[in-house]
């Protein structure tokens, strides 16, 4: 196992290449999920504001 991780002395190169690529492909969808949450939150707020304005109009 440790021989495998050692990569014949090229461990730093092989694992850093893998690490950087997998960090990028994990980070990208994570950021997209966070972006989606923010957008949905804004849409909900917009909807609430509209409903409030609507109900104020009807009571007036």
């Amino acid at each position: 196992m440790s021989e495998f991780l050692h990569m014949g002395g090229y461990a730093a190169y092989v694992w850093s290449a893998m690490g950087i690529v997998f960090l990028l492909v994990l980070l990208e969808p994570l950021l997209l999920v966070m972006q989606r949450r923010t957008i949905l939150k804004n849409i909900r707020r917009l909807k609430r504001l509209e409903q409030r304005a609507e109900s104020q109009k009807s009571t007036r």
Partner: protein, 248 residues
């Protein structure tokens, strides 16, 4: 069965369809990538020799990201052209969703290429034709993204960046021929040619599987980003306010 493709040009229909497809692309991405890496890590042939046999693993992620970087650029141009010809809003949204994933793949290709270069040629970087033209591709992606975000009016920014994408297409054949030029004597390239001839079948299988995995990954994240763009741009539309996820 007849599929009405134009139905899915409407952001509302595309949004619900893509939401159903994303999990399948994720599953395919994980399976293909893990399978490819498994073959790459455990079946790399001994003929490569000690040393190279070990660092050759970098190639599997390098080839996959570089191919995706170029393929996604082609896709971005395709959707930009569809947008310019038919004036469909959704195609512009897909094109701009593709650009960021393309830029990330290009960056990953640059970094893994530098690491490969250090192990096999002894240098992180060289201004050889392949690396230089590939770096330009990265700048074209950055230019597209910057242009798009610098114009506030979405219709104008969509059109302007679509034109930039189409003009930038000129770099793709230059990248390809920078290592596969018709007369090898005229090409002083440090970079290996991208030929399938003489490549071990295990290496080829691993390369194709990881590339397929990254392709499926690209589908998944591009669809996710397109859905975000649709939600953001259509936030005042009545179909958005009726969505289940909005009314939670």
């Amino acid at each position: 069965m007849k599929i009405n493709w134009f139905k899915y040009a409407a952001p509302m229909n595309f949004y619900s369809l893509s939401g159903k497809l994303i999990p399948f692309f994720w599953i395919a991405a994980i399976i293909f990538t893990l399978l490819g890496l498994y073959i790459g890590f455990f079946n790399t042939p001994d003929e490569l020799g000690n040393g190279m046999k070990e660092y050759y693993r970098i190639i599997y992620v390098h080839v996959a990201t570089v191919w995706m970087a170029m393929w996604l650029y082609g896709m971005m141009v395709f959707w930009s052209l569809i947008g310019l010809i038919f004036n469909t809003r959704l195609s512009y949204m897909v094109a701009s969703a593709t650009a960021i994933t393309g830029a990330i793949m290009t960056f990953a290709g640059l970094v893994t290429g530098a690491i490969w270069g250090k192990t096999s040629w002894g240098t992180w970087w060289d201004w050889d034709p392949r690396m230089t033209t590939y770096l330009i591709l990265f700048f074209v992606y950055i230019g597209y993204i910057s242009l798009q975000s610098s114009i506030d009016d979405t219709r104008r920014s969509d059109k302007a960046s679509a034109f930039l994408a189409v003009v930038g297409l000129a770099i793709v054949p230059i990248i390809y021929y920078s290592i596969n030029c018709p007369d090898p004597d005229q090409c002083a390239s440090l970079h290996q040619q991208s030929s399938f001839k003489g490549v071990q079948s295990d290496i080829l299988t691993a390369m194709l599987l990881t590339t397929l995995g990254f392709w499926m990954y690209s589908f998944a994240v591009i669809l996710m980003r397109t859905r975000n763009i649709i939600l953001h741009r259509e936030q005042k539309a009545s179909w958005v306010s009726k969505l289940k996820e909005v009314n939670q």
